[in-house]
């Protein structure tokens, strides 16, 4: 199996070194890991490497990938003179899964008031009432122009929304009015 392995280290408190010392060693570090298709990062507070490791197909292959990856990264770091700091994070992700995750944007799909009303098929006033009735999820962010919702939150609301035709009840209108004041 093919894996993308992450090994991240962090300098213990008080043991950080000058940023330029680590940055100047990142190039040689990447070259040392060259056959593993690496990407490296670091400064005076720590360094990390993400690279390819191949293993067999056994059930504990992920654990083997992490174990082998840690040895590979630390050996390469030692060879180029990078500080050997404690490893604070390791991760192995099966390569096809890893690549598929990277195809999807890591910025969430967000909706403003206009998009939410279009998605729900309601007026702005109705959305206002829904928000005040507390049945509608709170926005993730509020900027001056509009509240912003994460798309999946609105989709989830829509999936479970028992839409009632006609005007909202007097009680619901009263509740909305009172909470808006």
């Amino acid at each position: 199996m093919d894996w993308s392995v992450l090994v991240e280290t962090q300098a213990p408190s008080g043991a950080a070194v000058d940023d330029d010392v680590v940055i100047s060693l990142l190039g040689p570090f990447g070259e040392k890991l060259g056959d593993h298709s690496p990407a490296v990062a670091g400064d005076g507070s720590g360094w990390s490497a993400r690279f390819h490791i191949a293993t067999g197909d056994d059930v504990d292959a992920a654990a083997s990938a992490v174990e082998r990856g840690s040895v590979v990264a630390l050996d390469a770091a030692r060879a180029v003179g990078l500080p050997i700091w404690p490893v604070i994070r390791t991760e192995a992700v099966e390569e096809n899964t890893f690549h598929a995750q990277l195809e999807v944007s890591n910025f969430p799909s967000i909706l403003g008031t206009t998009e939410v009303t279009e998605l729900l098929g309601v007026s702005r006033q109705r959305l206002h009432e829904l928000r005040n009735s507390r049945r509608f999820p709170a926005p993730a962010y509020e900027v001056a122009a509009t509240p912003l919702w994460i798309r999946s939150t609105v989709d989830s609301f829509l999936a479970g929304w028992e839409r009632k035709p006609g005007r909202p009840s007097k009680a619901e209108e009263l509740l909305a009015t009172n909470e808006a004041v």
Binding site: G27, G34, D43, F107
Partner: protein
């Protein structure tokens, strides 16, 4: 503001240009620091990322590993600008 140029392969340059132009990252072509191009995240608590395009390994794997480091440091990619 340093912008990435032809010292980077096209796929790396495309990401780096977006990060520097629109996401507050800084770029150094490596002429002064260690000889490798570097990207510095907009969030100063995140660590600089080297752009290593030396021979060896698989190019697509290397790019995807690099992209993962970029995203972990707060870079947004791919970009889906909508209106």
């Amino acid at each position: 503001m340093d912008l990435p140029g032809r010292e980077l392969p096209k796929e790396y340059r495309e990401v780096a240009e977006e990060l520097v132009s629109n996401q507050g990252w800084r770029y150094n072509d490596g002429s002064g620091r260690g000889g490798h191009p570097m990207l510095f995240p907009a969030d100063p608590s995140k660590r600089p990322i080297a752009i290593s395009t030396t021979p060896g390994g698989d190019k697509r794997r290397g790019f995807m590993n690099w992209l993962s480091q970029i995203r972990q440091a707060g870079g947004i990619w791919p970009i889906e600008r909508r209106k």
